[in-house]
Symmetry: C2
Subunit: 184 residues, 2 copies
DNA sequence: GACTATCCGGGATGGCCGTCCCGGTTGTCA
DNA sequence: TGACAACCGGGACGGCCATCCCGGATAGTC
C-alpha cells in the first residue's frame, strides 16, 4: 500500500468517526470527503459503501463499551454495577450521536457491525443483565430488548445536562428493580 | 369544489392515514398516490406538501389521544390514572407506526401538527404529569421530556406482544414513582 | 532521472424523493 | 346538449444521495 493511500485512509477514518460522533449517521459521504480534504472517489475506494464507514464508528467505540461492561462483573456490589452499566451505555450514547442512532436502530445493524470487528455486543448486554438478575437486582422478567429500548430513552436525552441523564438512569434502574424489593 | 375532487381528496386522506399508520412516515407520496388510484399531481394539489399529509395522520389520532388523556383527570385513583396514561400513549403508538415515529421525533414536529388541528398535545401531557405529581404518584423531579423519552421506549416495543408492552409500562411506571414510596 | 503501477479527484450515473406544470378530460350548469 | 371552468394524470424538474469510473497525477523503484 502506497504511503499517501494509507495517509488518506487514516484521514477519512478519523473524519468519519468525528462526524458521525458529533452529528450522527446522516452526514453524507461527500461531506466526509470534503472535510477530509479528499475526493469522493478516494473515500469509496477505501470504504466501498457507507456501511463500511459506519462500521468504523462502531469499531471505534463498541470495543471500549464491551470491555467496560465486562469489567463490571468483577464488582462485589451488583446493584451499583448495574447502575454503572446503564450509565456507561447512556454516556457513550450521549457522547456519540452515531452510536445513539445506531442503538435506536436507524437503518444500521449495530450487532452485525460489532460482530464484524470481533465483538459480541448482544452477548455482553445479556451477560450484564443476567448477572444483575442472578443477584436479584433486576426483575427476572426483563429481557435484553427491554434494556435496549430503555437505553434509547436515556441516550435521547444526551444533549441535556448531566443531571438529566442521571435522573433518567435512576428512573430506569428503579423501574427495573424486582417488584418485591422495597424502594428508596 | 367538484364532486370528483372531493371524492379523490377523501380517498387520498384515507390512504395516507392507513399507510402511515401501518408502515410509518417513510411511505412516499407517489406510493400513496398509487394506492389511492390517483396521479401524483392530484395528491400534491390537495396536499401541497408531505407535511400536510403528515398532519392528516396526527389529526386523525391526536384528538382522540388528548381527549382520553384529559378524561383521566376525573378518575379518583391517580396511581391507576397515570398507568392508564402511559398505556394510552403506548397502545396508540403501537397501533400507529407513524404516531410512534412522530413521537420519536423522526423529522416531523408533532406538537406543531397537533396545534394546527387545534390540540395542545404538550399541554395535555404536562397536565397529566402534574396531576400525577400533585397526587404524589410520580416523582417531582420528572419533566415532560422525560415522559416523552420513556414513551418512545414503550412504543418501540409496539410490534411485540401485549405482555411485553405491559411489562415496559410497568417498568416505567415503577421507575417514575417517588423515591420515598415503598415498592410492590 | 525516468518509468510504471498505484492512487487521486471529481464528474457521471442511477435511484429516490417532493413538487410543479401542462395537455387532455370530465363534471357542472346554462 | 354544448361550452367552459375545474380537475386529473403522470411526466418533468431539481435536489440529494451512494457508488462507479476514467483521465491525470504521483509515489516508489531501478
Amino acid at each position: 500500500m502506497r504511503a499517501d493511500a494509507e495517509r488518506n485512509r487514516a484521514r477519512i477514518l478519523d473524519t468519519a468517526i468525528a462526524a458521525f460522533a458529533a452529528e450522527g449517521l446522516g452526514v453524507s459521504v461527500q461531506e466526509i470527503a470534503r472535510r477530509a480534504g479528499v475526493g469522493t472517489g478516494t473515500v469509496s475506494r477505501h470504504f466501498p459503501t457507507k456501511d463500511a464507514l459506519f462500521e468504523a464508528i462502531v469499531a471505534s467505540r463498541v470495543g471500549r463499551i464491551v470491555d467496560r461492561v465486562q469489567d463490571l462483573a468483577e464488582l462485589p456490589d451488583q446493584q451499583g454495577a448495574f447502575v454503572e452499566f446503564l450509565t456507561i451505555l447512556t454516556e457513550e450514547g450521549a457522547a456519540n450521536v452515531g452510536i445513539a442512532q445506531a442503538f435506536a436502530g436507524a437503518g444500521y445493524d449495530m450487532d452485525a457491525a460489532a460482530a464484524a470487528v470481533g465483538y459480541d455486543f448482544d452477548a455482553a448486554m445479556a451477560a450484564a443483565l443476567h448477572r444483575a438478575q442472578d443477584a436479584h437486582v433486576v426483575r427476572a422478567d426483563a429481557d435484553v430488548a427491554d434494556i435496549k429500548a430503555l437505553m434509547v430513552s436515556c441516550m435521547s436525552r444526551g444533549s441535556a445536562d448531566q443531571a438529566t441523564r442521571a435522573r433518567m438512569i435512576d428512573i430506569v434502574a428503579r423501574g427495573l428493580r424486582p417488584p418485591e424489593s422495597a424502594g428508596g
